[in-house]
Amino acid sequence: MTNEKFLSVENVGMEFDTKRGRFEALRKIDLTVDRGEFISLIGHSGCGKSTLLNMVAGLLYPTMGAIICDKREIKGAGPDRGVVFQNHSLLPWLTCFDNVYLAVERVFGATETKAQLNERVSNVLELVGLTPAAHKHPDEISGGMKQRVGIARALSMEPKVLLMDEPFGALDALTRARLQDELMVIVKATGSTVLMVTHDVDEAVLLSDRIVMMTNGPSATIGQIVTVELERPRDRLKLVANPKYIDCRRQVLEFLYQKQLRAAA
């Protein structure tokens, strides 16, 4: 964790124009992320955590403040920030291999030969354990496998930051646990900086270095940040009895269910 302020969100606010006037979704968000850090964004639904992620991705522009990634202001989407979408967003008419190839070709196509590009795709599919399904179409594989292809596609671009929007939200509990374990291995291997939106407390504590907890919208902002001081590699079985782990969970749960409990929710 050298290179302080690798990613910094500075006084960012987001307003949307709606039929009933301006709606302030986010206000005064300040966050800095170190290189190689794993950050989770957690909060009740509608708190704007996905909006914040999309702004870092460059899919939305903040109406106030700025986001700086590796000393450059983010002014649009780009392959330096790999996004894993909540619903995987694979192109159904391309095979898993071709879905990843599309990304690889864009980033490395100008400098590398076709054989090298193919090699990159094969390697990243192997990393997520999908070599046997490489030439299947997305509708021929399970939800967990689709999400792995999504992760592979994001990783294949060798992004500075990996952005994940509830990557495992649509999966069943067992598949989710397996993919979380695999993600920890992959992140360790690639040294990625990760920003992940989640609403799963266990997931947040297990994976993160810091958990950023957001207040309820409208005008949501960062309510509290919990630092998870647990050694890596983390083993979910051993963690359950770990007092630090239990304390982190308690803090997140208290924030979500006492401080930010919504009457409507």
């Binding site: 989407a77 979408f85 192109l91 599309l102 069943d172």
Partner: protein, 317 residues
């Protein structure tokens, strides 16, 4: 089943939080579902001692359900037709007389006795050729135009009033313009097909492009794809079902219009043939022509549905 519950708990024994509890319940629900499925799978096998006849009668029933209603419909049509023919006092030929005439007509479909007396086959082919040319031109221009209009908001705003204005115009209203410009009947007929077939393709393609899921466009943005890649890898495949719908509507319209256009322009073609037979007062042939037009239109439509199924990713199992 209990083994699975144990595994779920073993993953996170001390974490009896709401989240894990829900997860465990979900896992059990999945397992229970699995058990239900498998038991229902085995159930019929147990009772599979004497169902052979049962199954045969079931397929028979299904065939009857499938075939009987359309068959009754056709019989009704022929019945009504026969009654009408009977009551009209032989001015309208009945089904049997028409059938005999059709057998005679189709026994030599490709003869040529001068330009105004050619076999039914030549007439159909001439019409199909006009539709083919007019329709292809319309597709060659309409689909790319639809793409541009769907992709560029400025063009959309610019062209939508023109399209709204011209689309409802009856195709035949364009015929005099065609005759004036081309000074010949055949290109004028093709022109009418072109102008009537182009709108559904432009509109459907444009709608398809504008309805490409935002998720895919986000992928394009995140990957920073070039406009060419967006076109070939995302827009075209995503829009293909819409384009094919447009093509199907277009060919339907084109086939509707060709009969009327040929009645006015003359020459060879199914529409002209109808008019010619009217002048000869050969009513059987007019009725045959109606069926021929209907059947060819149906075949064109079915052909395009098959193509649509072949190319659309949504249908791919």
């Amino acid at each position: 089943m209990s083994a699975v519950i144990k595994t779920v708990v073993a993953v996170n024994p001390a974490l009896v939080s709401p989240a894990t509890a829900v997860a465990a319940v979900a896992a059990i629900a999945v397992v229970a579902d699995e058990v239900n499925k498998s038991s229902s799978q085995y159930a019929p096998k147990l009772s599979l001692v004497k169902p052979q006849r049962n199954r045969m009668s079931r397929t028979l029933m299904r065939t009857i359900e499938l075939v009987l209603p359309p068959l009754l419909g056709m019989l009704l049509l022929i019945g009504v037709w026969a009654i009408l023919a009977q009551t009209s006092g032989d001015r309208l030929p009945g089904p049997y007389k028409t059938w005999l005439s059709a057998v005679d007509l189709f026994s030599k479909p490709f003869y040529r006795n001068g330009p105004n007396d050619q076999g039914i086959g030549w007439n159909i082919l001439a019409s199909l050729q006009r539709v083919g040319i007019g329709f292809s031109l319309a597709a060659a221009i309409g689909i790319p135009a639809g793409f541009l209009i769907g992709r560029v908001a400025f063009l959309n705003a610019m062209f939508s009033p023109i399209i709204s204005l011209l689309r409802p115009v009856s195709p035949l209203a364009w015929l005099p313009i065609g005759l004036l410009v081309f000074k010949a009947a055949n290109p004028a007929a093709i022109w009418v097909i072109f102008i009537s077939a182009i709108w559904p393709m432009i509109i459907n393609t444009a709608v398809g492009v504008s309805r490409v899921p935002q998720d895919y466009m986000n992928v394009a943005k995140v990957l920073n794809l070039s406009e060419w890649k967006i076109m070939t890898k995302i827009l075209l495949p995503a829009t293909l079902p819409y384009i094919l719908t447009g093509v199907r509507l277009s060919i339907g319209v084109a086939w509707l219009v060709i009969v009327a256009a040929e009645m006015l322009t003359g020459g060879v073609g199914i529409g002209f043939w109808v008019w010619d037979e009217w002048n000869n007062l050969n009513v059987e042939h007019i009725i045959i022509a109606i069926f021929v037009v209907g059947i060819v239109g149906l075949l064109l439509e079915q052909m395009l549905i098959l193509i649509a199924k072949r190319f659309s990713h949504e249908y791919k199992a």
